[in-house]
Subunit: 270 residues, 2 copies
C-alpha cells in the first residue's frame, strides 16, 4: 500500500525534504514523495490543502506533511487538511525558546537562499573545482583547501564538486594515468602542497566495472590494468604518508565527510 508524503515550504522545501526523507526511511511502507516549494500565498496553500485531501480520499491514508512555513497562517491552512502534519522545526525551537526564555524570530529564505552565510564562497569553490578538475592545471594548488589524487574513475571529480558546492571547500583533483605508473612519484606541483593531498582508492573489480561502462573491453578497463594501477598508487600513498580511503562502499556524501574530518578542513557552509 503506497502512502504519500508532501514536503512543503514557502522556500525551497529542502529542509522539509531532508527531515521527511530521513524520518520515513525508518518505515517499511512505500511512499510517493511530492515536493511543493514556494507556497507563498493563501490561494496556493488552499489549493494544496485540497490536493492533500484528495490524496486522502483516493488512497484511504492520511498523507504525511512535512513543512517549514514561516507564515503561521499558511501553516494552519496546510495542516487543516486530512494529514499527519509536521512543522519540522517547531519541536526544536519550542524547546530552545522555553529553556533559554528567548523568542525565535523566523525569517523567510534564511536557509538555502543567496542571503545564506557564505553563499558566495560555495559558488567560488565550485568554479575552482571545475577549473582545477582532472589535473587540467596545476597552477592554483596554493589556493586549494584540498587536492584529491587517484587513478582515473576512482571518484575524484564527484567528490571535489560535492565538497565545493555543499561546503565551500576549494577542492582540486589530479589523476594518475597509465603513463605515470612505470615510476610513480608525486609531481613537483603536488609535492609543494603535500599537506593538502588526500588519496582515493577503490576495489579493482569496481573500478573495472566503472571503466568498462566508458570504454568497454579496453585495456584501460581490464581488471589486470586496474589492479596494477591501484597497487601502484596505494604503494605510493603509503611511502609518501598520504592519507587515503577506499571509496568502493561509500557515497560522495560519506567520502566528503571523512575527508573533512581527517584533513580538519573548515566547512564554509556553517
Amino acid at each position: 500500500m503506497t502512502r504519500t508524503a508532501f514536503y512543503i515550504s514557502d522556500g525551497t522545501a529542502i529542509t522539509a525534504e531532508t527531515i521527511g526523507h530521513a524520518t520515513l526511511s525508518q518505515y517499511d511502507f512505500d511512499i510517493e514523495h511530492i515536493t511543493v516549494p514556494f507556497i507563498e500565498s493563501e490561494d496556493k496553500a488552499l489549493q494544496l490543502q485540497r490536493q492533500i485531501n484528495r490524496r486522502y480520499k483516493t488512497t484511504g491514508h492520511r498523507p504525511f506533511v512535512f513543512h517549514t512555513f514561516v507564515d503561521q497562517s499558511l501553516a494552519s491552512t496546510i495542516c487543516d487538511s486530512n494529514s499527519i502534519c509536521f512543522d519540522v522545526l517547531k519541536p526544536f525551537t519550542n524547546k530552545i525558546s522555553e529553556q533559554l526564555n528567548i523568542t525565535a524570530n523566523p525569517v523567510k529564505h534564511r536557509t538555502h537562499s543567496i542571503k545564506e552565510h557564505k553563499y558566495d564562497a560555495r559558488i567560488d569553490a565550485m568554479n575552482f573545482a571545475l577549473a582545477n578538475d582532472d589535473g587540467q592545471t596545476m597552477e592554483n594548488y596554493d589556493n586549494a583547501d584540498v587536492i584529491l589524487v587517484g587513478v582515473s574513475r576512482s571518484g575524484k571529480t564527484p567528490t571535489s564538486i560535492y565538497l565545493a558546492l555543499q561546503y565551500g571547500i576549494k577542492a582540486a583533483n589530479y589523476p594518475f594515468i597509465e603513463e605515470d605508473m612505470e615510476n610513480l612519484v608525486l609531481p613537483e606541483a603536488l609535492k609543494k602542497n603535500k599537506k593538502k593531498i588526500f588519496g582515493l582508492t577503490i576495489e579493482p573489480a569496481r573500478l573495472a566495472a566503472i571503466r568498462h561502462e566508458r570504454y568497454a573491453n579496453s585495456k584501460y578497463a581490464s581488471i589486470r590494468q586496474c589492479r596494477m594501477e591501484l597497487r601502484e598508487v596505494e604503494r605510493m600513498y603509503k611511502s609518501n604518508k598520504i592519507p587515503f580511503i577506499n571509496t568502493t562502499h561509500f557515497s560522495v556524501e560519506e567520502i566528503s565527510a571523512k575527508i573533512i574530518s581527517q584533513m580538519k578542513l573548515e566547512r564554509y557552509n556553517h
Copy 2:
C-alpha cells in the same frame, strides 16, 4: 556571546546539520558550529561527551546538540552531557509510530549512503552535466532531462551541477556567445529538443560585476555589452516561448527548485 552547536551522527551528520542550521537560524545569537560524523563506538561517544562538557565549562552555556543516532546507547552517552540535546528524528517517528501503531526500524546509513535509493542516478547525472557543460557537445540533448540556456556567467553551470548532484536530473547547458547576438536564433540541436529548454537571465549590473571578476575592464564585462546580450536573449526567450527566470536574487537551490517545478521534472532523489 557565542554559543556552540554540535551536529553528531553515526553517519555523515548531514541530516543533523540541516535541521540544526535551520533551527538555529531563527535565533540571533552567534554560533560556533561543530560537525562530528561517524561516531560509531562507545569510546568515541564518551570522548565527545567530554568535549561537550568542556565547552559548557569554558563558555558557561550548555551547547546545543543535534543528533541522529540509530544506536540508542550512543545517543544516551551523548545526551548525558551538559547540553540541550535533540534526537532530531524522534519527534516525528514518535508521532507516526503512535498514530499508525507501527514501529520505526532505524537502520544505519540509510540516508546519504551508497545504498540510498537511486544513488547511481545522481552520479550518472553529474557525469552527464559535466560532459554537457557549456555547449561543449550538442550530441546528447536527446538524453537530457533539461537544457539550460543563457549568456556567459548567468548561472547555468552551478545550476546544472546542483540539479544533477542533488536530484539526479540530467541537465545540459548551452551558452549564447557574443558572436550569436547579431541574429540570435535557437541552434538546430536545441530546436529539436525545445520542450526541454529553460532560459536563465540576470540583471545587467550583476552580470557585469561577475564578468569583471574574470576579465576586468574587458568589453565582455562592460555594462553595455551585458545589457545588449541580456536584451537579445530575453527577446529570443519570449519570441520562442521559452520559460525563463531571472537568477539575480536566487541561490542555486532556489533556481533549481523553481526549474523543477516549472518544468515538472522528476526528482530522482526521492
